[in-house]
Amino acid sequence: MTDYLLIQAFNGLVIGIIYAVIAAGLTVIFSILKIVNFAHGEVYMMGGYFAYFAIALAGVPPLPAVLVAMALSFALSVLVERTLLTPLYSPTTERKGDYGILVTFGISIFLRALALIIYGPYPLRPPSFWPGVAVVGGLVMAWDRVFAGGAGIAMLIGLVWFMNRTSWGEALNAVSQSRESAAIVGINDQRFYMLAFGLGGALAGGAGALVGPIYSLSPSMGLLPDTQAFAIVILGGMGSVAGSILAGLMIGVLESMFVALFPDPSRSLTYAQAFSLLVLMLVLLIRPTGLFGRAHVAME
């Protein structure tokens, strides 16, 4: 029995790494722009398709295609930010929080409908990063998942390094803590908003590119990860990258354990989806700042 649970837990961990990457992107966006990005799942979806077409049309090998996807997702996010999000920085915009929610919601509807037209309705699957299955003792896992987990960890390490060890990252941190103070010190706001939104999008797009071979691509694939990412960000604490990472891993493992152990088979796979949502609701009720969140997260 412990063997079985360990295998389930490990599997959940790998999924959790992907969750963490998506959630980390959402957190970066939230920390600096102070908005909840309802279109995050759609950037994840676009990233998956970018990678697919980079491979199919330009002959890019699978691994570099992930980087291409991240770059394109970065560009897409910056485009969105420049055209639609600039009112967030203007003092004349009322209730910026609502604006952020509504606009990103609109973007998600738009991108999803556009993707359906451009990419067509059929599920597409990019080629595997590494075909076949890894077998270690009793543990069996597709190499694609192992690869996704590893690449995800690399992305997270890269993000943490960037936030803590580069001047850009430190500036982002400063802006996230206090926009006014950062401005006083001379940190030019607008470029950092672009950077933050682009960075968040790049992470989401990268995650999408990694899971393409595992789950196949479809225009509506961003819907489920969207809500899961919210739950994770809330659990970890809005504004804390470390919190998102930890929360992502936790949710991944817990979801797996839920399906593994829930006694009623006629409901386990349907309520599994509700799991992260219930976590979100519970955290908001009991401890809204999450595990590591900063208490003073305000909107304007």
């Binding site: 059929y122 699957r125 595992i214 797996s256 088979p265 006629s266 386990s268």
Partner: protein, 414 residues
């Protein structure tokens, strides 16, 4: 505010209102007008838009063919395609629109049973004939509406067959994942009945139609004792592909000791092999089209036309849509006009040979779902033996009269 106005808001409102009302007042039909037929199906989410698009493609081919032949009764055929998105409200509005705006004399198609059920109320209200294509719920015909016909098999036909095949193949302990919608659940119930009759054990798990990760559940199956010897998927959403891959990667099915079956149409879809690769070898599935040995000229012609235009093999559901169109064309021709009762009567006396064989519709109401049902709907069970094998080339293992191989199931590795 009174004096200086060029156009008062009141006047403006009246003008606007009239302008808006004009297109709504409809147009009167002229003599050599095209015959208007409606097609319904999901073309965008949350409906099953991939299959819906395939079925629309088939209808387009049928329309082009009939018009190239000069149309029906000297009039060209015009099909209007309505996207019902898998939502009953959309279905109902689309049905109203097709009948009221587009003056459709008949409608065909649909892929989601609850949507078809909502639409049927509208067809029944106006007495407009409806050829239901890929909706399997028994209720569609069991409701007994004279306007409604179905050229696809009913669940009662399909899942009884699946159950019987499982028993005949000698499996004793079945793991089932069923999608949690009316089709998946009804399928599960019907298969369960057959299995129970033969004392075959099974465990059924219901899954949300939007899931893509079944790893935890499959692991759970894999670690159960006594072990399962067959994995039955009653799952037709996009998640079917990852489910098949996950079962394969985790070493659960297909193996020498555990077979795998996918029901619902995903396994005969053109995107099947691209999405599952190696994992599709030895998978068993059903086909609602004719077995290749039984293909008639129409089947061959249609397959060639579809291949040419869409670079893919048409699945049984696609053929249903194609034949659905032609059944309506045939009925209108025999009725000599587009009057509803005439078409319905003509449909009842159908004896048309289409891509899926010879069509007749029962008028019996015992049991209820027999009414206006194509009872001889072809149904065969096939098993893939090679990666990238076309669904028309895969060996047919059941029923016996169509089987192309002597065995009922081939174990991987034998």
């Amino acid at each position: 505010m009174s004096d200086n106005k060029i156009v008062t808001p009141t006047r403006r409102a009246v003008l606007a209102g009239t302008a808006a009302a004009l297109p709504l007042l409809g147009r009167s039909a002229r003599a050599a007008d095209p015959i208007s037929i409606g097609w319904v199906g999901p073309l965008s989410p949350p409906g099953g838009y991939a299959e819906g698009t395939n079925m629309k493609n088939a209808a387009e081919i049928a329309a082009a063919e009939i018009n190239a032949q000069g149309g029906i009764l000297g009039r060209q055929v015009e099909i209007t395609y309505a996207d019902t998105r898998g939502m009953p409200a959309e279905g109902r509005t689309s049905a109203e629109r097709l009948i009221q705006q587009n003056k459709a004399v008949a409608v065909f198609g649909e892929f989601h049973s609850p949507v078809a059920l909502a639409e049927m109320e509208v067809y029944h209200k106006y007495g407009i004939p409806f050829m239901a294509c890929d909706v399997w719920s028994d209720q569609i015909t069991a409701k007994g509406y004279p306007e409604v016909f179905r050229n696809a098999p009913a669940l009662s036909l399909i899942d009884v067959t699946i159950g019987q095949w499982i028993v005949a193949a000698g499996f004793k302990n079945i793991a089932i994942i069923a999608e949690k919608n009316d089709v998946g659940l009804a399928a599960r119930t019907l298969v369960a009945q057959e299995l129970t009759k033969a004392n075959v054990k099974f465990t059924a798990v219901d899954a949300d139609p939007n899931l893509t990760d079944f790893t935890a559940q499959i692991l759970r199956f894999k670690s159960t004792s006594p072990p399962y010897d067959f994995f039955l998927q009653l799952y037709s959403e996009a998640g079917a592909y990852p489910m098949i891959r996950q079962a394969h990667d985790l070493g659960f099915a297909p193996t020498a000791n555990c077979g795998i079956y996918n029901s619902g149409g995903e396994a005969v879809d053109p995107t099947f092999w691209e999405n599952v690769g190696e994992a599709g070898k030895y998978l068993v599935t059903e086909n609602v089209g004719l077995p290749k040995a039984g293909w008639n000229d129409k089947t061959k012609a249609f397959v060639a036309a579809y291949q040419k235009k869409h670079n893919a093999d048409p699945s049984g559901a696609v053929m249903e849509s194609y034949d659905g169109a032609w059944l309506l064309f045939d009925a209108i021709k025999r009725a000599g006009g587009t009057e509803s009762k005439g078409i319905i009567h003509a449909l009842e006396t159908t004896s048309y040979v289409g891509a899926r064989g010879k069509y007749t519709f029962s008028t019996s109401k015992e049991p209820a779902w027999h009414y206006h049902q194509f009872l001889e709907a072809p149904l065969s069970i096939l098993q893939y033996h090679e990666v990238k094998q076309g669904q028309a080339d895969a060996p047919i293992v059941w029923p016996k009269q169509f089987a192309t191989v002597p065995y009922v199931y081939k174990r991987p590795g034998t």
